[in-house]
């Protein structure tokens, strides 16, 4: 027994790792922890509610995934959906990005193959957190590529908890963005790697990354415009190299060919205005290469100058003419409205109300930048400074990615998501570089004291030494204070992120939770109550009319045909519904009958005080309806430019279908103690028209908290 300690210490000694191994161990364990952290921080909603799909679009994705699991890929690809956009229908296979569904089904099949009896819903719910975890790994490698492994680690940590990314990747948020951000960052990383190495393998990988991105999200347009822009900047700044040539050409050609395999994208890479920049840069690249070759062949510079002039002019002219011809002949489609609205934030507001009506398409407020980025907002410029200080092909890329995506994030709230990886990476550079400099400062001082000379090389060290000499007494304390400050800020960031995730981004929005009078949690499960009622108690072929927001949910949960849904591809159809909702009942019934509607569904928050209901969305219905049918005029519903539902409301407002359906028999209802009957809690007023009579519709179902009300369309009266 006595010999044991000695042998144990021997054993320990033999297990002792070398510094490099220690570093590797620490790095790998940090990455593992970050990987797990990124996953579990997104599980708030699963623990608080249940494993369920959130919000609106994910329900469509879930429904299609279900279809894919049940019917296989070919049926999915050729799926014509009769249950939406009645009577038009929707070619689902040709109008969606299948990447998400295929990914989920693949994971599902693999798990099934490994004999794990999981339900496809669980896979769908956890797809986004899983990909978020993978994104942290990509962020690490990306950070390592553009700066060093320290920056990579910091980037992984920052992106793991960044609210801007969490907002779209919590468990249950089964949406394209969940996998697309991974694909986006992966493509960028591999492309930068390809540019840095000039390796065909990496550029091939980036082509496949791009293909995955195209299959997953419409945001691929950002890649196909940013990369050419980056290449162009490199060309202009004289950083053209063979590596760049290989990387871009391989990625562009292969990526384009692969992308054409996605039916929804099709030939857009050669036909749409949004993709022309990439093609232009591709040809420019060839001209550049050609000129380079000619320059190499010709020794006479004068001759070359002349040749250059001729070639460039003719190339530009040919390109211009080709583009012009394409545009005129209609072969190349002009830019879409969505694209315009990105370049000109006011465009959608004036021209496309349906885009402007979506809350996530609004211009971003400063507060939401602060909310989503927190300290990254301050670290971002600092990181840019470091990037400019150590300019390379990779840092140029990240700078451009950061700046452009920040601009887009300012235009639309939802594009904060695209900016998040760039902001995290650049901030990580700032954090890593600062901390490194400070620690070097601390260490080098010790070395000065001990040995009197620094052995290390590198600019930062020597500069710190220079600083050291100037202000010896406060140097160390200052560095320590700064380090503590940095760690304090980072810990604040972590707390903020957790708080935001828990409070703001983990609500499924299908189930609403509130605090009751005794502090207990009250759950409003009215949406599912209504959808399940539809599913069980209406004829199989019943057609439900509602505002488009609820379309996906009705088809997925209610399993009934809808007139319009969240895939807002047909503005006229939506406008027709908007018109029906904003007309008088006897006019509306004509539209309703012409659309063969059996049930009308409205969402009403007057009893519970739920503010995102149809009355509050109503002006958008008027605007969208009025955009196509000029009989609907917005001023008719307003009083002195003010939108109100009480006694002072406009007469048209008080008698339009939406008002009647929402407030039918609401006048008899006592909602709040001490208030008159018919007191609308969402708007805080007593309603103006308490005697609502319906002639052609009848109440079919109202949920227990009145949030969803469903009306049945009565058959026409018999003629006598």
């Amino acid at each position: 027994m006595a010999t044991m300690p000695a042998s144990a210490s021997d054993l320990l000694k033999s297990f002792k790792l070398k510094t490099k191994q220690q570093e590797l161990l620490i790095r790998v364990s940090i990455l593992c922890l970050v990987y797990i952290l990124a996953f579990i921080t997104r599980l708030f909603s699963v623990l608080r509610y249940e494993s369920m799909i959130h919000e609106f679009d994910p329900y469509f994705n879930y429904r299609t995934t279900l279809y894919l699991t049940e019917n296989g890929f070919y049926d999915f690809w050729n799926w014509f959906d009769y249950e939406s956009w009645y009577p038009l229908g929707r070619i689902v296979g040709g109008t969606l990005y299948p990447g998400l569904m295929v990914t989920a089904v693949l994971i599902y099949r693999i798990l099934r193959f490994l004999r794990f009896a999981v339900h496809i819903r669980e896979v769908c719910v956890l797809t986004a957190p899983f990909f978020a975890s993978n994104t942290t790994l990509v962020a690490y490698f990306f950070g390592k590529e553009i700066w060093d492994s320290g920056a990579g680690l910091v980037a992984a940590i920052l992106i793991a908890v960044c609210p801007g990314y969490i907002s779209r990747s919590v468990a249950g948020s089964y949406d394209n963005e969940g996998v697309a951000i991974f694909a986006l960052l992966f493509t960028f990383y591999v492309f930068v790697k390809a540019v840095n190495t000039g390796s065909l393998a990496w550029s091939l990988a980036s082509a496949f990354g791009y293909f995955y991105m195209v299959s997953a999200w419409g945001g691929y347009v950002f890649i196909i415009n940013l990369i050419p822009l980056y290449v162009l900047v490199l060309l202009i700044t004289g950083r053209y190299s063979m590596r760049l040539y290989v990387a871009y050409n391989c990625m562009y050609i292969l990526g384009m060919l692969l992308a054409m395999q996605i039916r929804f994208v099709g030939f857009q890479h050669v036909q749409s205005g949004e993709h022309m920049a990439a093609m232009g840069v591709f040809f420019l690249m060839q001209v550049f290469y050609f000129l380079d070759w000619v320059k190499h062949m010709l020794s006479d510079t004068k001759l070359f100058q002349a040749f250059l002039r001729i070639t460039v002019t003719s190339a530009v002219a040919v390109g211009g003419i080709a583009l012009g011809l394409g545009m005129v002949s209609g072969y190349i489609s002009p830019w879409t409205g969505r694209f315009y609205s990105l370049l000109d934030p006011t465009y959608a507001k004036d021209h496309i109300p349906i885009i402007a009506s979506v809350s996530e398409h609004q211009p971003t407020a400063w507060s939401s930048f602060m909310f989503d980025f927190h300290i990254l907002l301050f670290l971002f410029p600092a990181g840019l400074y470091f990037c400019f200080k150590r300019l390379s092909d990779a840092t140029i890329f990240i700078v451009m990615y950061g700046l452009t995506s920040m601009y887009f994030a300012g235009v639309m709230v939802r594009l904060i998501l695209v900016a998040t990886p760039a902001v995290c990476l650049i901030s990580a550079i700032a954090v890593s570089a600062t901390v490194k400099n400070l620690t070097v400062l601390l260490r080098s001082k010790n070395k000065v004291v001990q040995t009197g000379s620094t052995k290390g090389s590198g600019g930062s060290k020597s500069s710190s030494k220079a600083l050291l000499d100037q202000s010896q007494p406060f140097q160390k304390n200052g560095a320590i204070a700064l380090l503590f400050g940095a760690f304090y800020l980072l810990s604040r960031y972590a707390t903020h992120c957790t708080w935001v995730t828990s409070e703001a981004y983990s609500s499924p929005s299908i189930v609403l939770a509130a605090r009751g009078a005794h502090g207990n949690r009250v759950i409003f499960d009215d949406y599912r109550e209504a959808y399940f009622w539809l599913r069980q108690n209406t004829p199989q072929d019943a057609k439900v009319m509602s505002w488009w927001d609820y379309g996906y949910q009705i088809t997925a949960m209610g399993n009934r045909t809808v007139i319009v849904d969240n895939n807002t591809w047909n503005n006229t159809h939506i406008a027709t519904v908007g018109r029906a909702m904003s007309s008088y009942e006897d006019e509306a019934i004509e539209i309703i009958r012409s659309l063969d509607v059996d049930y009308v569904l409205v969402v009403f928050g007057g009893v519970t005080g739920y503010s995102s209901d149809d009355i509050n969305k109503f002006l958008w219905m008027v605007r969208i309806g009025g955009g196509v049918f000029p009989v609907i005029k917005e001023p008719d519903y307003l009083v002195n430019g003010e939108y109100r539902v009480d006694k002072g409301a406009a007469p048209k407002m008080l008698n339009c279908l939406m008002y009647k359906l929402c407030y039918y028999r609401f006048g008899e209802m006592m909602t709040e103690y001490g208030k008159p009957p018919g007191y609308d809690r969402a708007r805080g007023v007593e309603i103006g028209n308490k005697d609502v009579k319906l002639e052609h519709l009848e109440e079919a179902f109202t949920t227990s908290n009145w949030i969803v009300r469903i009306y049945r369309v009565k058959p026409p009266n018999n003629r006598w």
Partner: protein, 468 residues
Amino acid sequence: MEARIRARVNLALTFFALLFFVAGSSPPRQFVISNAERRIDLSSHIINVHLTLKVENAGTRSASEVVLALTPTEVDHLAMVDASAIKGKRKKTTSVRLEVKPTELPDAPPIDTKYFTIYLANPLNSGESTTLEVLYVFTHFLEPFPAEIAQSESQLVFYHDTALILSPYHIKQQTTFIKTPSTKVESFIRMEPTNRVGTEIKYGPYEDRPPYSISPIHVHFENNSPFAVVEELVQEIEISHWGNIQVTEHYKLIHAGARHKGVFSRVDYQSRQSSNGASSFRYLLARLPPRVHSVYYRDEIGNISSSHLRTDSLKSELQIEPRYPLFGGWKATFVIGYGLPLQDFLFESSDDKRYLNFTFGCPLIGMVVDKLTIKVVLPEGSTDPSPVVPFPVEHHLEAKYSSLDVVGRTVVVLEKKNFVPMHNSHFQVYYSFKPIFMLAEPLMLASAFFMLFVACVAYIHIDLSIRK
């Protein structure tokens, strides 16, 4: 409506045919029923008919088979028939369950009268008499009229029967009592002497009726009890020898009463529920075994948050509320699942087999189950399953693949149609199982991880590059 007409036609046919054949041949006539009393309970949608017969052997030989007769409509709705013999005098009576079997009588009247034979424990000698108690349970027998009602109306139903008991024997004296759930009786057919007091209608006593005499009557009355019917219940009992039994029950529930018509008004339903939606129901109560854990209640689109669980040492009660109140014709599907400790239900039999002892039935109280399927999922590697059920059921075997299964689990499937709470009883499934199989899955997992680590080690130590 159509069903009602059919029922009437059937009854009328029976009637005429019986009159015609009254003098004709009939089953062994040696019995005479000296006194018959029938009590019909109509308070819910499950109809219980208690029939007390005093049977006398008037023949010369001893006999042990007493025949009961039922009309075809009755047989279609019959969920169970149960007979027992009453022994002893007043207050010290004991009842002995007797075997009842459906039989065909060769010399029966050509109308489709169906027969059940009671096999007496001891043959009845000539001149002796005995008292038999028979219980019939009928389902889907009350016919809503009007067939569609609005929210504010209450539900009225028809009950069709005959005032005289259908029997192949001569009945000397008979009385029928019909109990209605409330005093609201719209109409009923009289056949003197008929007397109605409170919630009870008394037909009889009628003296000396020949065999096969009937007299159709109907009662039209209010019945607002929940007509909750489970159209299909699939109960899956999965045994894990690691200490847990997981039960999953898939329900397809329907309100089988008068169909709801027109408007459903929430404001009326909330403010005046007694007069609005009187026949609808909101809550269901499930009685689960004690020590139940991890209970869930959900449906295809997610968790249903309105349920309460009360547990004590003897039983657990789960009160559930479907997503919406159920009106006539409305449906709801849902799943209830729970875990149970293994030692309460799994035992070892003397012949080295194991057996599961579980309740055959539907935990929801007062439910008619049109089709009940019980699937007992035995652990992987178990052999020779054999179910023991106290009443006839269909059964077959299936295979199921659960987590980490390679060869699949044996599933014993038991099916029973038209199940009523009176059927609730225990059943057993015997099977052989070697405990070594319990280790298969942990070993599989362990070896998978081991392989993974070996692969990692190999990857680190082997140089795969082509360039040297």
